[in-house]
């Protein structure tokens, strides 16, 4: 098979053994790679009902057919496991040299099973695996860990590691690689911590053949040129932090734990002002021509830099009601170093701060709070406590959904999550297609698996007569294909016809004869399998929902009222289920599974 090694590496850290299994061509023709292949492997390797922190929960690293092709933005990988935040499918993507190294050892995917009784650092190359003691790395930040392992193994090894948050099984811990890039959402770092794996270092240069190298070389050049055009201008200039001022102006920037009553001015933390007043440099993932990464030098911190994204800026700033730039930059850096998802960390702190203001936090928990001077100081101390699971942090490390359920007293209404995953920086009361996507997403409140906000930001004539349900289905299926091939989402507008061009590229890589409709069908199949996994793990229809605040507290600026009623969301959910050809309860009929070739 061209483009694939046809191999999965399966590692058992309990017995410190490994084996190789064949990856069948019919599987990758159906699920491609990345998050699609990850969903397939999770379904088959995770026993039903497995606790996310059980040794039986597989931690899966998936590459894709495009990894190694040197097409722009394709050095990416997916990490998949059963999420300790949602109890459903958890997947997150990250990028750069680590993707090349994983594929370079000759694996299309690596599945890690079991749990060690002592901390391990895995060293994997073409000669085999070393299960090294990692006790000397425990407590180290992600950058220190990567740095230590470069010193020990040399710079040819690329490392995925967890920080103290992952060690402490903070439920929203991330996995870090390539100098601070994060597989951030759904808590895969906590799963890695539960297996007592501090780091995994890969080195490999196993070559692959491509079916039509001539065509690929032409495509490489064409895409590289197109990727530097208008379609990526925002990412190349200000990066995603450009969203903040725009969203603020359009009243779709959630503030103060989605209360949106803040009188604060967030101008000083806009991308435009940060670019003007701070030192900002640009960085690229391996094989990427775009360079969306903006590294901001943190004031009063020597030469320390933070890789700043809109979601981190939002979650550690406006969401917690903070407009102090230095606090936000330092908090974002801190989360990266500790290995924590900034959205869930910021959202959990925002929930806690609101509940404190409302007098809803039990006295016994307030006694665990460190002393603090102001909100900025409180945020920093809460993040520190969460990463180390010290004092109040041991409670908040469970995330806002679990903690609010434990307290009760109505605090659940202020926990801004879906299925246990905290909400990203898109206001659902104004962005109704996005609201639907957040409610029905298989991985919880997720902005990346549908890009549904694009419909809300488009002129009405662009969307034609599609129902919102159909828009979300189309966005999800398209995203599933992107996340499985894997393209970076920021290259999506570079394609004139995504399915036509991507199927041609996939055929040049593999020698297949897949047509655009078949590729689109892969996206549909992947999303149905993800949903079927969730159904198997106990999903019920009530979990396709949004936090109560979204319905009960409309937004108003005097002239315009933005709201979403529970019944309107219910109507949209019905249109989504209809578009998916699911039952009115959101279940997948046997006939639908069969038509997609999904065997359960």
């Amino acid at each position: 098979m061209f483009g694939y090694h046809n191999k999965i590496l399966i590692i058992d850290v309990s017995s410190k053994s490994w084996r190789w299994e064949d990856l069948q061509e019919e599987v990758v023709k159906d699920f491609i790679g990345g998050s699609g292949l990850g969903a397939y492997l999770l379904y088959n390797y995770c026993p039903p009902g497995t606790d996310p922190f059980s040794p039986a929960n597989p931690l899966i690293f998936c590459t894709s057919p495009l990894v190694g092709s040197r097409l722009t933005t394709t050095s990416k990988f997916a990490v998949v496991s059963k999420s300790p935040q949602t109890g459903f499918i958890g997947d997150s993507l990250s990028s750069s040299s680590l993707a090349l190294a994983i594929k370079g050892i000759g694996a299309d995917a690596v599945i890690i099973l079991g749990s060690s009784n002592r901390w391990l650092s895995l060293k994997i190359d073409e000669s085999g695996i070393e299960f090294n003691d990692a006790s000397h790395l425990i407590g180290n930040s992600t950058s220190m860990t990567e740095g230590n392992l470069i010193e020990i193994f040399g710079p040819d090894y690329n490392t995925a590691c967890i920080g103290p948050a992952g060690e402490n099984m903070v439920r929203f811990a991330s996995i870090s690689n390539d100098g601070g890039r994060q597989a951030g959402r759904t808590g895969n770092g906590a799963v890695m911590g539960s297996k007592k794996i501090k780091a995994i270092s890969f080195k490999g240069y196993k070559k692959l053949n491509y079916f039509n190298e001539f065509n690929l070389s032409q495509t490489r050049k064409q895409l590289a040129i197109k990727s530097l055009g208008d379609a990526t201008e925002k990412y190349r200039t200000l990066g995603t932090m450009a969203n903040l001022s725009v969203f603020d102006r359009l009243k779709v920037l959630p503030t103060g734990n989605f209360r949106n009553q803040s009188n604060k001015n967030f101008d000083s933390v806009s991308g435009e002002v940060i670019h003007k007043e701070e030192k900002v440099s640009t960085s690229h993932c391996a094989n990427c021509t775009i360079g969306c990464e903006k590294l901001v030098t943190i004031p009063n911190s020597g030469s320390a830099k933070v890789r700043l994204e809109y979601q981190s800026l939002f979650a550690l700033g406006p969401l917690v009601g903070i407009s102090d730039r230095e606090t936000i930059l330092k908090s974002s850096k801190f989360c990266d170093e500790m290995g924590m998802d900034t959205i869930s960390a910021g959202s959990t702190c925002a929930w806690f701060m609101e509940c404190m203001q409302k007098g809803l936090i039990p006295e016994r928990w307030l006694d665990l709070l460190p002393t603090y001077e102001n909100d900025e100081d409180l945020l920093k101390k809460l993040l520190n406590a969460i990463a180390k699971r010290s004092g109040i942090g041991d409670i908040l490390a469970e995330g806002s959904a679990r903690v609010s359920k434990e307290i009760g007293l109505g605090t659940e209404d202020f926990a801004m999550h879906v299925k246990g995953l905290e909400m990203p920086g898109y206001e659902p009361r104004s962005l109704h297609t996005m609201a639907l996507a957040l409610a029905v997403s298989t991985r919880g409140a997720c902005h990346n698996r549908s890009s549904a906000y694009e419909y809300d930001f488009a002129s009405s004539s662009d969307s034609g007569k599609l129902s919102r349900g159909q828009m979300v289905v189309d966005g999800e299926d398209y995203s599933a294909v992107m996340d499985s091939l894997i393209w970076c989402k920021f290259v999506r507008k570079v394609f004139d016809d995504f399915y036509v061009e991507s199927s041609e590229i996939l055929n040049d890589v593999t020698g297949w004869d897949m047509d655009p409709n078949q590729l689109a069908r892969c996206g549909e199949r992947i999303n149905n399998l993800k949903k079927q996994f969730n159904i198997r793990e106990g999903w019920v229809m009530d979990q396709d929902n949004l936090p109560k605040r979204i319905f009960s507290e409309p937004l108003s600026d005097g002239e315009n009222r933005q709201s979403l009623s529970e019944s309107d969301l219910g109507t949209m959910i019905k249109s989504y289920y209809d578009a998916r050809e699911w039952t009115s309860d959101g279940l997948i009929p046997e006939s639908k599974l069969k038509s997609l070739g999904i065997e359960c």
Partner: protein
């Protein structure tokens, strides 16, 4: 009747011009986006080919118009009135 418009600049358009807001005054009330574009091109030639298309008929595809922060509309259908704010925003919403 003359009309006054405020053009709000976001993203790289703000970086290039160094301006957040630009006040424009037109003698003729039948003003459309093409007239706004031509005026901006005169005031800020550096926007040419980076935000404004070089023919001065519209924006590059990397930018979109929004009227008064409320709705996204087809530029050809935009009806500008006295006191309106015309936003020039990056068209890529992702992140």
């Amino acid at each position: 009747m003359a009309i006054n418009l405020t053009v709000e600049l976001y993203g790289n358009s703000r970086i290039i011009t160094g301006q957040k807001l630009v006040q424009l005054k037109f003698a003729d009330s039948k003003v459309g986006v093409v007239e706004v574009i031509q005026e901006l091109a005169l005031l800020f030639p550096a926007l040419d080919g980076k935000v404004l298309d070089t023919g001065h008929k519209g924006l590059l595809s990397s930018y979109v118009f929004n009227l008064n922060g409320v709705g996204f509309q087809d530029p050809a259908k935009l009806k500008l009135r006295n006191g309106d704010s015309l936003l020039i925003l990056p068209s890529q919403a992702g992140g």
